[in-house]
Amino acid sequence: MASGVKPRVKVPKTAAAGDAITIKSLISHKMESGQRKDKEGNLIPRSIINRFTVEFNGQSVLDMAMEPAISTNPYVQFEALVPEAGDFVFTWYDDDGSVYDTTKSIAIG
């Protein structure tokens, strides 16, 4: 599934050094569980995002393994520390080998 996948992430534009910020992330993906059947009664093969990682300036914030029980359009909310200005890199790994990523910069202010 490489069509219509769009990552969306909400990160504040600025933060004080050492602050904890809340990040909300969402990626549009149908997360086909492998349990559903089509009209002819055949199983629809599993196609999900199986891993989601967040890094800040190369240091890990969150590494999440996902199973088919995660809802369509996986949404994750978590908190991160901002020791300095830099970039958050968000990466999603698809079952079909595709990798989707997005970067958000944050300034100290």
Partner: protein, 138 residues
């Protein structure tokens, strides 16, 4: 059709067994827990699992886990065809060992969260969610 005293007793016993069965955590969920903890004991405190008591739609049930000092948390839906839901591994820049997401539940069931603490111990929390419409297709 007449029932003898013996048959009636056997029927009653069978019915009792059938009613008790659904409340035991299924074997697949136990396997997932054993793989994560390695059979270690689990404390009841130190982890918080927030889930709605009643979910109208099993396709998107909001859940939140929080375990201060944890290095990893797994989330298990004991009544799903595949009980594993997610595993969160927190890095050094995680401000708090908490996260929330939305999950699918096949029906009314217990969900379990287990945290692995930085010192290697485990903590467990569970919650029962009543699901009106299941979320696993069919």
């Amino acid at each position: 059709m007449e029932f003898s005293r013996r048959e009636t007793l056997a029927l009653g016993l069978g019915a009792a067994v059938v009613t008790v069965m659904p409340f035991s955590v299924n074997a697949a969920a136990d396997d997932v827990i054993a793989t994560f903890t390695g059979g270690a004991d689990m404390a009841d405190t130190g982890i918080e699992l927030t889930a709605p008591e009643i979910a109208e739609n099993g396709n998107t049930v909001p859940v939140a886990v929080s375990a201060p000092g944890a290095s990893a948390i797994i989330l298990i839906a004991t009544g799903n065809p595949t009980p594993g839901v997610a595993q969160f591994n927190f890095g050094p820049l995680a401000a708090s060992q908490s996260a929330s997401t939305r999950i699918r539940l096949a029906g009314t069931q217990d969900i379990v969260a287990i945290a692995q603490m930085a010192d290697g111990s485990f903590a467990k929390a569970s919650a029962t969610v009543k699901v009106t419409i299941g979320g696993c297709g069919g």
